[in-house]
Symmetry: C2
């Protein structure tokens, strides 16, 4: 089964649980809207890519780990878009969750997605009981306080923010969870895979910052210039567009260097290099790698 | 160690994890404010009471289960009080979380508490690996969609609501998780303990409805008359004060009948009868039990 089918099937399977009979219909509809159709599914694809590089001996565990991480990503988008944060009217080229369902239902859908992410992991215990605890730990650390994506969002309310720490929490943490969980699913040591994911996540965040400054709204499916309007840390504002582009390339190379020894190391590096090649907007000259 | 000490210690232990170094200081402060000092700690005390009735052979697992459930309760209070829901300025006799820390931080603190609830359960796996999966399942079902407390809150946004279904989700679900998790922690079958918790939770919700209509703000630490102001389902509005009081007594008796056979059944029933005796406001005549 190809990667996209595995991910969409795992997500549909998870969602079916939350949309079961007897629940409030608007919440069920909002949960579906928050997850389908997806964006690039970067984190679950990364999780599957790492598991494959490690042999992917338990693909069903890999699939629930990948789904869990994507559900948490969708939850964070639902909450970050709310009026009290980004107040974003659009997401993925259509009305954001709260624009479509109202703030109360959007907030609760985000909550329910967080819960569903952990519920989804239980399936791992049916297949290999010893892998549930590390997966819950990896996913919770990447999501909560003090260093997960929720903490990353909370840094935006602090008066003093360190850009690197903010981006590690806001984006790096869940990427690191994707690589670490992929390793656990395949029976490998997750600690070895943390740095690769974290650096790659920071690279994607820098790319996002660059697009926020230099991109076109139509190209990225959400408004541009939001960071400046909201007074948020942004690598392109802090280092300039060229500085941020150099930082992006450095982070990608550093991530690739951090891929641990494993059967599929070369293939994984080639895949990541190809996928990150398009991170810079066409309007921006790519510095020599 | 007495029950209160066990619960507060387990909560403090969980919170210490989320307030670790390197995180945003306001979020850490908000997390502490949301959990300490607590309310009546009804749910974790119920969890410990059930475990004790079943022998409490693994008290450390009981403690993390109880803490996890209380963290989820605190998360639900943080979110339910937000301006887009109850817009409650006070809670437990002092400013509500968002009144003290602002809406963004209060929302994220609620999110982080949900995550922390699951992270806290991992400790169970260190002590008895087979008990983590049922605990995650019990806690997630009681919290998420379609039948957990988040779904209960979402019913308030629906046009048509069945009062019993709403109250089962809004309050019954987490009480049922408290009794079920207490049973799992002590190595018993959780399914046998579900009905007892669910009915008891409904009784507490009816008592809350009665206080909302007939209570004094100073007595309960939050505003009264909110359900009517917000157009929410309320048993005292639907059945009248006397009708609601009768329903409360029936639910408590039905809960007590549902306590399964176990070594401490009689003691548990006596304790619950004593604790529920004070559920009706003094101003309301207690119908014959």
């Amino acid at each position: 089964m190809d990667v996209v089918t595995r991910i969409e099937r795992a997500l549909a399977h998870a969602l079916a649980r939350a949309a079961g009979p007897g629940g409030p219909p608007s919440l069920a509809a909002a949960l579906h809207y928050a997850v389908f159709p997806g964006g690039a599914r970067i984190r679950p694809r990364l999780c599957l890519a790492v598991a494959r590089a490690c042999g992917d001996e338990r693909p069903a565990i890999t699939d629930v780990a990948a789904a869990s991480i994507e559900l948490l990503h969708c939850a964070s988008l639902a909450h970050d878009d709310l009026p009290c944060f980004d107040d974003a009217a659009t997401r993925r080229g259509r009305p954001s969750l709260h624009a479509a369902f109202g703030t109360p239902t959007a907030l609760l859908a985000g909550d329910a997605l967080i819960v569903l992410a952990f519920q989804t992991l239980v399936r791992a215990a049916e297949l290999a009981p010893d892998r549930l605890a590390p997966l819950v730990l990896i996913v919770s650390r990447a999501t909560g306080a003090p260093g997960g994506i929720i903490a990353g969002q909370a840094w935006e309310s602090e008066r003093e923010v360190d850009l690197a720490r903010y981006q590690r929490a806001k984006t790096g943490a869940l990427f690191a969870a994707a690589t670490s969980a992929g390793a656990v699913a395949a029976g490998r040591d997750p600690a070895e895979w943390h740095a690769f994911g974290e650096r790659l996540g920071e690279a994607y965040q820098v790319a996002d910052d660059i697009r926020d400054v230099a991109g076109e709204a139509a190209e990225i499916g959400k408004p541009v210039g939001r960071d400046r309007a909201l007074g948020r840390p942004n690598a392109a504002t802090e280092f300039g567009l060229d500085g941020a582009a150099r930082r992006l390339v450095t982070l990608v190379e550093s991530a690739l260097d951090a891929v641990p020894t494993c059967p599929g190391r070369q293939e994984l590096r080639t895949q990541i290099r190809a996928e990150t090649a398009g991170l810079l907007p066409r309007t921006l000259a790519r510095p020599a790698a």
